[in-house]
Symmetry: C2
Amino acid sequence: MTRAEQRERTRARIVEAAVAVFAERGFDGASTRLIAARADTTQGLVTYHFRSKDELWRAAADHVFGILGPAFDDVEPSGEARRDGREVLRGFVEANAAHPEVFHFIVDAGRHDDDRMRWLVDEHLAPRFSQFLDFDGSAGVRAATTYYAIAGASSLIFSVAPECRRLTGHDPSDPAVIDAHVELVLRLFTRS
Amino acid sequence: MTRAEQRERTRARIVEAAVAVFAERGFDGASTRLIAARADTTQGLVTYHFRSKDELWRAAADHVFGILGPAFDDVEPSGEARRDGREVLRGFVEANAAHPEVFHFIVDAGRHDDDRMRWLVDEHLAPRFSQFLDFDGSAGVRAATTYYAIAGASSLIFSVAPECRRLTGHDPSDPAVIDAHVELVLRLFTRS
DNA sequence: GTCTATAATTAGATAGAC
DNA sequence: GTCTATCTAATTATAGAC
């Protein structure tokens, strides 16, 4: 294994650990030492590969949104629609079930008017929102409220899984629960 | 002003500051020094009135859920229904618009299986969920998915207000936006 | 590229003056 | 009841050995 390969593997391990810890504990609650431990390495190496905690957070955000990206593409590069609205929505809910971390990045960053919020909006949320506009066909207040209603309705249950288990007795990672939630969201947001 | 009065006023100021800071920055991101500064007092006094940061967090949670409580009561103490489902739901969305802090307490605590999460579920969420069951009339997986769909759809836009402004150009504290969101949620979750 | 050691800050909690 | 000073522990970031 070359040094460049070694470098990339370590960076990838750290980024994956960072995604998990940032999602679980928020930016302030996540320590670089804990992230290093989860990646089976040391704190010094984290700041060697990523100059600051902030830069690591951005790398982690790039990683989660990179995974989720394909789930939201509803058009081929050629421009023809690949799937209808129901299939896109189903994929969106299933992606949120598989990666509840995304929701935490959004909620954590979204409540503060700071650099991280602005970066996240410009880098990852704006493209997603404009894609949504295509899906909905409209702009204005209605697009905003609909976007957040879909995002909230689709994601919350998976993002507070420990709470949901204690409160309702049901485990949101259970395929039956995921399926029920997909069907509910489809019923809510599509005609039929 | 008696000493007991002084005590209560100071405690109230600290609790209100704590609600705001915990909601903005999460448990880990909120420092007792910042909370003290927002309450126009000192850090030493915070730990005098509330023995620990954890106890302060619980007092803050009691306060926000205490404010929100009346919005969810859909029956009079006598047992007769006060409002129909649409009015209850409208009140719920408007309460989330007025107090987006609640959502942050829920999301912050809900992702960790720790003491705070268990306390919040048992103390504040369980009564709310059982009330919801009355509203819906059913139990089981469907109740769980519906509960979280309503909570997420109703709350998210108000809880990430800075992000929403930058992403959509609309301010979720604008009465017109609140109204549009109320109408959307009503359309989604009630038979018209 | 990785690790250990450490510097500089900041955290929550305590003690004592008033 | 309030405030200042301080203790201990944990944080990010840096420096240097290998």
